[in-house]
Symmetry: C2
Subunit: 140 residues, 2 copies
Amino acid sequence: MGKPLTIGEAATLTGVSAKMIRYYEEIGMLPEAARTASGYRLYNGFLLQQLGFIRQARDLGFSLEEIQSLLRLWRDPCRESREVKAIAEQHLTDISQKIAELTRMQGALAQLAADCGGNSAPNCAILDAMVPEHLLTTPA
Amino acid sequence: MGKPLTIGEAATLTGVSAKMIRYYEEIGMLPEAARTASGYRLYNGFLLQQLGFIRQARDLGFSLEEIQSLLRLWRDPCRESREVKAIAEQHLTDISQKIAELTRMQGALAQLAADCGGNSAPNCAILDAMVPEHLLTTPA
DNA sequence: GCTTGACCTTCCCATAAGGGGAAGCTTTAT
DNA sequence: ATAAAGCTTCCCCTTATGGGAAGGTCAAGC
């Protein structure tokens, strides 16, 4: 029941920058905010909740496109939780893949770093490993 | 000692797209390729090795900026492996942070997904958790 | 010798998810 | 009344990469 907030106040309260709030509105992720007579955007509880929703979803790593879908479901009283869960599980799969990829890099690079002297000498296992073998021609 | 390759052949051989090869040259990451009389770029062993280097470094997740530094060190006979290792260790730190962040998301989201029925009913633990508590006003 | 298709050139545009900042208007506080 | 702070729109920057157009070039086939 509080009176509507300006965009800066909404930003502080939700942790979403004013810049991003305008952007989310522009791309149709959020309904257009009401305006004062002079054109200032105004945010009521409904919009604030959606901003908080976006913030939380971003913190969970969802893309804006996924968040748009999630927000539509959130607003829809007839949604089926199956649809929400499907988006979440897909995202979990993506996260697992990213972790696997990063873990692979971590392992490979840690091995190379372990083999690098890290001193003032020029020879370096890391650099040596960086040129693929099939490009190493025996110098004339 | 093979004769120089065209950009397409170099792309196939190194796994770096022709588009990206031109881009790396444009941003000064690679020395300018030689040209035929008609303007076609030509790639010799030295350039091919650097393209392969870039490809490997990308596979290890290094940014183009980091790769530029690494390439400079690779070309410099007076480098100190310390400098190379420093870049690698910084990157390892970045990787660890990303893994930690993704793992955090994974844990949080898996918990929510476990609490979501995933059926045809509208109530959903995931959506419920998405609105921060401080934005939940007791509806009039 | 000419045509055709594959390859090359440069140039411009688009992506995701923001940030920076200018020019100008409004509101608030002194 | 004036100054500061906040709001508006508009445009440009980022990272690393892909898409595609318009036009020049090269090699193979006939």
